[in-house]
Amino acid sequence: MTWKQVFTSSVGKKLVMGFTGIFLILFLIVHAGLNACIWAGDNGEMFTKGAHFMGSNWVPRILEVGLFAGLLLHIIQGLMLEFSNRSKRSVGYAVSYGNEGSKWYSRSMGLLGTLILLFLILHLYHFWLPNRASQGFLLGEEINLFEKMKLEFSELWVVIVYVLGCLSLGYHLAHGFQSAFRTLGIHNKRYNTLLTSVGYAFSIIITLLFAMMPVSFYMGWV
């Protein structure tokens, strides 16, 4: 059994989705924690310091390469799995099983993921791209991200799109969090109950935290 065989079977592909999914969950914690500095009440001083470290130090900048690699792997593998799984039933049912046997969001991971991807493109276009462009993609002069947030989130439609993006992420996590751990082989009943509740709590907290950021700027709370 070569490594290639291990990771390219149907279960192996799930493992890739699970590993990258948990990696991205860890990234969300870092991202939310750092961004929460906007609420420090110092007109963005602490946030700017944090953002400066993340953008100008080699350690997070090298980790960023890993983040993009994990992100791309999760997106490409996820889309390929979605298309492949859809192709396994050429003739569909006249009456569908629907929500009786499973939650709608657990069946809609491909759709929710695509919505998150669309949101992510807009998000990178708003903040990551202009910042890195100004730096010449290395460690050059950064833009003031706090002012950039203020500017972008003064538009109502941007705030609405961001909140909807966070909602998609929340439902994606509501299934993805516990599913990722099951995929990695956690089958003990007491862990499953724990992971399901922690998963729901995590999804709600992350969704609220991120959604409150554009709302806070729009409402003038920061």
């Binding site: 149907s10 995929t183 082989g185």
Partner: protein, 254 residues
């Protein structure tokens, strides 16, 4: 519950063979007893079709007592019909009311091609079993049943997994047409016992490879399989299968 008779409208999938394009046909059955099983109702309909000179509806059935896994009808949007933990043959007509319209479809998955009407080819499951669903036993006298001590909980979990009758309802219910609940039950009931230990690593690898070859989709843990399983096979078996796969994939020398 009081016995009653009913008249029903049936919308049944008719398909000549795996190559032809099927379609729904409407049938009316009258004076169906609430005490009949769903398959007996189909027997009545087939008698009627034969009397009228029509082709009777082909469907799989064998023991008609819920243990063989042959019956395979997708009834009103759920494999094996509206009751929980139940096979089609054990579904009784008291689940329906006079005047109901019932939609009956075959299992739909490309890995289960339709042979005719409601009968599908599930030999893919047999080939998955052949790929690794066995243990090695020495010839000679039968070993004493209690020669190897097995913890009660493990024996119970193994037996619960071994309840799988291989009917394919999990594949039919899954949006990905995945056979993971079936496979995980077959891997789990052997992996939980010391008798399954010698082939432990090769079993899970070979059975997963065969499942992929047969054209089933991959698992996304939606839980539709567990909700429809007539033998209530737990989805935790899928997580156990993943653990077995991870262990074998990372430590196997071959």
């Amino acid at each position: 519950m009081e016995h009653y008779n009913m008249n029903l409208n049936l919308k049944v999938w008719r398909q000549k063979n795996c190559k032809s394009k099927g379609e729904f046909k409407l049938y009316r059955v009258e004076n169906i007893s609430s005490e009949m099983s769903f398959l007996e109702m189909f027997d009545v309909l087939n008698e009627q079709l034969i009397r009228d000179g029509d082709d009777p509806i082909t469907f799989d059935h064998d023991c008609r007592e819920g243990i063989c896994g042959a019956c395979s009808m997708y009834i009103n949007g759920k494999p094996h019909g509206p009751w929980q933990a139940n096979t089609t043959c054990q579904l009784h007509m008291r689940a329906f009311n006079d005047g109901d319209t019932i939609v009956v479809e075959p299992w739909r998955a490309d890995a289960f091609p339709v042979i005719k009407d409601l009968m599908v080819d599930r030999s893919a499951f047999d080939r998955i079993i052949q790929a690794g669903g066995y243990i090695s036993v020495n010839t000679g006298n039968a070993v004493d049943g209690n020669a190897i001590p097995i913890p009660k909980d493990d024996a119970d979990a193994s037996f619960a997994a071994a309840m799988c009758i291989g009917c394919g309802a999990c594949v039919a219910a899954c949006k990905n047409s995945s056979a993971m609940l079936f496979l995980s039950a077959k891997v789990s009931h052997l992996a939980l016992l010391p008798q399954g230990a010698p082939e432990r690593k090769s079993r899970v690898m070979n059975m997963v490879a065969q499942m992929d070859k047969e054209g089933f989709g991959s698992c996304t843990n939606t839980g539709a399989c567990e909700a429809t399983c007539p033998k209530e096979i737990s989805i935790t078996n899928i997580a156990r299968l993943n653990k077995e796969y991870l262990g074998a994939g990372f430590t196997s020398d071959k």
